[in-house]
């Protein structure tokens, strides 16, 4: 008993407390939302992203460090649509933080503010790890980011009314720059229209829909099921009949299957940043789309 108490005292004095400054503590499930919150909040927010571009947001361990971070968060931003169902509910119930629980203003699901694609007609686990609410990887279409930015800006202003002006003016400036960038990207991405590609996971659908590319196949036989030799053999056959222009994969998936198909079917495999931090050039949301389009254009030539 006494030993426990002594240990507690010793531990609590050695731990650095989290910054209890005036800044709004933002916990984001994925780096793209961290980047967006930073754009909108500037120095009025302190942003922590639970994952990096090298992690599969479906499969995250509910690590103690994440519970500690969520404990002190004022705002939680996730993609939603069940993308984080394997870990976020657990972190929330363990956090002892009512601000960010479902139903409170501190809980923000980005995918709720956009039109979702690939809402399944049939929902059954035999179809793989499908999301009944539709494809959750909404950030790969920049027009979605514009819509989400507007909703997030309002939410931040609601939670932190003292800095509401800051969020609104930064948000306005961001959205203006973003619309200009979308116009530029749409011009640049024109040659991608109609280009057939093979994806690894169905995490690129919104980008494909935006640019008018065509998804010819996916390396995963079913969503969430890793590529199998027999499925790859089928893909090689399919590529012989109707070759795709490239194979696209994200930094968190292993390049092995993509490279295998690339060498057998003789079509390039392209790693796209997928989210902020996925490549050196994808430092922020603007860099993310600049680099993604540049990489795809490089392969389509």
């Amino acid at each position: 008993m006494k030993a426990i108490l002594r240990l507690i005292v010793a531990l609590s004095s050695t731990f650095a407390a989290l910054p209890a400054s005036a800044a709004l503590n933002v916990f984001t499930c994925e780096p793209e939302w961290g980047a967006l919150a930073q754009e909108l909040g500037g120095d009025k927010v302190s942003v922590y992203s639970a994952t990096t571009a090298l992690q599969d947001p479906h499969r995250i361990e509910a690590r103690p460090s994440l519970i500690a971070r969520i404990r002190s968060a004022d705002l939680l931003i996730c993609s939603g649509s069940e993308l984080e169902i394997g870990w976020i509910p657990l972190l929330l119930t363990q956090s002892g933080n009512s601000k960010v629980q479902l139903g409170n203003p501190g809980y923000f699901e980005a995918s709720q503010y956009v039109v979702k694609l690939e809402i399944p007609k049939v929902i059954d686990r035999a179809l793989g790890d499908i999301h009944p609410g539709g494809n959750p990887h909404v950030h790969t279409d920049p027009r979605n980011i514009a819509r989400i930015a507007q909703a997030l800006e309002e939410r931040m202003a609601q939670i932190d009314p003292a800095n509401a002006e800051n969020y609104r003016s930064r948000g306005k400036s961001f959205r203006e720059r973003w619309q200009a960038a979308i116009a530029r990207w749409e011009r640049q991405a024109a040659p991608l229209k109609g280009v057939p590609i093979v994806v690894y996971h169905k995490d690129f659908s919104y980008f494909i829909n935006w640019t008018g590319m065509r998804e010819a196949a996916s390396l995963e036989p079913k969503p969430g099921i890793p590529p199998t030799p027999s499925h790859l053999a089928e893909l090689i056959d399919q590529m012989k009949r109707a070759p795709a222009k490239m194979i696209v994969y994200s930094p968190y998936s292993s390049p092995q299957a993509a490279e295998f198909l690339s060498s057998r079917a003789n079509i390039p495999a392209v790693m796209v940043p997928f989210t902020v931090g996925g490549t050196d050039k994808a430092k922020d949301l603007f860099g993310l789309f600049d680099d993604t389009i540049a990489r795809l254009l490089g392969a389509v030539k």
């Binding site: 008993m1 426990i4 240990l7 507690i8 531990l11 609590s12 731990f15 650095a16 407390a17 989290l18 209890a20 994952t51 990096t52 090298l54 992690q55 599969d56 499969r59 995250i60 361990e61 509910a62 690590r63 103690p64 460090s65 519970i67 500690a68 971070r69 404990r71 002190s72 069940e82 169902i85 394997g86 870990w87 976020i88 509910p89 657990l90 119930t93 363990q94 956090s95 002892g96 933080n97 009512s98 601000k99 629980q101 479902l102 139903g103 686990r125 793989g128 790890d129 969430g224 099921i225 890793p226 968190y252 998936s253 292993s254």
Partner: protein, 445 residues
């Protein structure tokens, strides 16, 4: 004449042209009208469809809780009779801790229902459906959502926060069975009826503190089901520290303390005359557990490779009175002082070397430690009257390989060489499947 005729012709032609043009415009107009009508019809249809889509079906069952079912089945090949299973050198626990039946059997199925109750509480019920004797409540608790400052309160029946493995559901264990130390000191798994208060510190490094008070319905408390008294039958304190290291390691370590005062906690043994006697213990039982867990995955992405190391050290002190033959089935009841200080530990590692495939090894060891038994020391009885308490250090080696084709299914093959009995080694082979149906569960760290 010529001019007139030409002019007439021209007029006629012009008129004719105009007539044709008029007719064409008329045609186009009617086509357009028709198209507009069609469009209008389609818009109305689309609107109706949108209205239908936006008003989702309602009914009494739309607020049903999330339901999931765990099914498992096992084939066991045991070189020793599982009905004679015991852990020599240690007081038998009140529950079933043996390796289960030989041959093919259906394991315990789990039915889990969980949902937010309102903005204040979340409720969870996990029923275990045993293939033989009906339904039991494994966990059934409510948990607060609305408390802040890092506080959470849980009330009902739940897995006690003592140690690490104890809080994990059997279907999420990395081996088919529990570590020997969990069997010997917590009767496999301690689920308590009680209240838990937990606080998470506002620090970057994870730090929690917890307090549980319970009924004492299970070993190491006693008798089975809890004492007939007001107040508290068992209390537990725990604390954990955890964090990240580098770009792929997550760790957590904890200390917990469980204190109970068993009264007439019984166990059966065979005395020197060959009779089965019931002995009982009344006194104090205190258990310390030190646990540590370390998980590694490159860049915290466990999809391809990952490693998990887990270990716990248990130390138990009991002092009180031991009554031999409390039901007077052999030499008659006799009571003497009893103290014991015993310990045990295990260390296990599980490595995922390619997606879907994992291998694991576990080593178990229990230390008989020091025991002083007044009945034997005074010469009233001999060690052979209480053979199960005779000094012995059980050990076990376990290896396993499992395959998880998706997040929802797992097939495991496990071999163990179990020296829980002082007189025989039990060589065990288990082949097991574990699947989950329904709502997507989330697993604790």
């Amino acid at each position: 004449m010529y001019g007139k005729g030409t002019m007439g012709l021209a007029v006629a032609a012009a008129l004719g042209f105009a007539g044709t043009a008029l007719a064409q415009t008329q045609d186009e107009l009617s086509t357009l009208r028709e198209q507009v009508r069609q469009l209008d019809k389609r818009v109305t249809e689309a609107e109706n469809a949108a209205i239908q889509a936006s008003s989702r079906p309602t009914g009494e069952n739309v607020m049903n809780p999330a339901v999931s079912v765990i099914l498992n089945g096992i084939y066991s090949n045991l070189s020793q009779d599982p009905n004679a299973f015991r852990i020599n050198g240690f007081v038998p626990t009140l529950g079933e801790v043996g390796p289960g039946a030989r041959g093919l059997s259906l394991g315990e199925s789990e039915l889990a229902l969980a949902s937010n109750i309102d903005h204040n509480f979340r409720g969870t019920l996990i029923a275990s459906i045993s293939p033989e004797d009906g339904i039991g409540v494994e966990e059934g608790y409510i948990q607060t959502l609305a408390l802040s400052y890092g506080f959470t309160i849980k009330a009902g029946r739940f897995f006690s926060g003592v140690g690490y493995q104890n809080q994990i559901h059997a279907h999420a264990w990395d081996f088919t069975d529990a570590p020997l130390a969990n069997k010997a000191f917590l009767g496999n798994q301690l689920h308590e009826d009680g209240i838990q208060l937990k606080w998470v510190a506002p620090t970057e490094t994870y730090f929690d503190l917890g307090l549980e008070v319970g009924r004492g319905r299970q070993f190491p408390a006693g008798p089975a089901g809890g004492r007939n008294k007001n107040g508290v039958g068992s209390s537990t304190l725990f604390t954990h520290v955890g964090g990240d290291l580098g770009t792929g390691v997550a760790w957590q370590t904890g200390v917990s303390y469980l204190s109970t005062s068993p009264r007439d906690r019984t166990f059966d043994d065979v005395d020197s005359t060959g009779a089965t006697v019931t002995n009982s213990f009344t006194g104090k039982s205190r258990l310390w557990v030190l646990d540590g867990i370390l998980k590694w995955a490159p860049n915290y992405n466990p999809t391809y490779t990952s490693l998990k190391l887990q270990g716990e050290f248990f130390r138990r002190k009991e002092n009180g009175d031991l009554t031999y033959d409390s039901t007077a089935a052999s030499l008659g009841p006799q009571t003497g002082g009893f103290t014991s200080t015993q310990s045990g530990w295990y260390l296990q590692g599980v490595y995922q070397f390619v997606p879907m495939w994992r291998v694991g090894y576990r080593y178990d060891r229990l230390n008989a430690g020091t025991t002083s038994n007044g009945l034997v020391d005074s010469g009233a009885l001999t060690v052979t009257d209480l053979p199960i308490l005779a000094r012995y250090n059980p050990t076990r080696h376990t290896v396993m390989v499992d395959w998880s084709p998706s997040e929802f299914s797992r097939v495991r093959l496990q071999f163990a060489s179990d020296k829980s009995r002082s007189d025989a080694t039990d060589n065990q082979v288990f082949l097991q499947y574990i699947v989950s149906l329904g709502a997507h569960g989330a697993h604790k760290f």
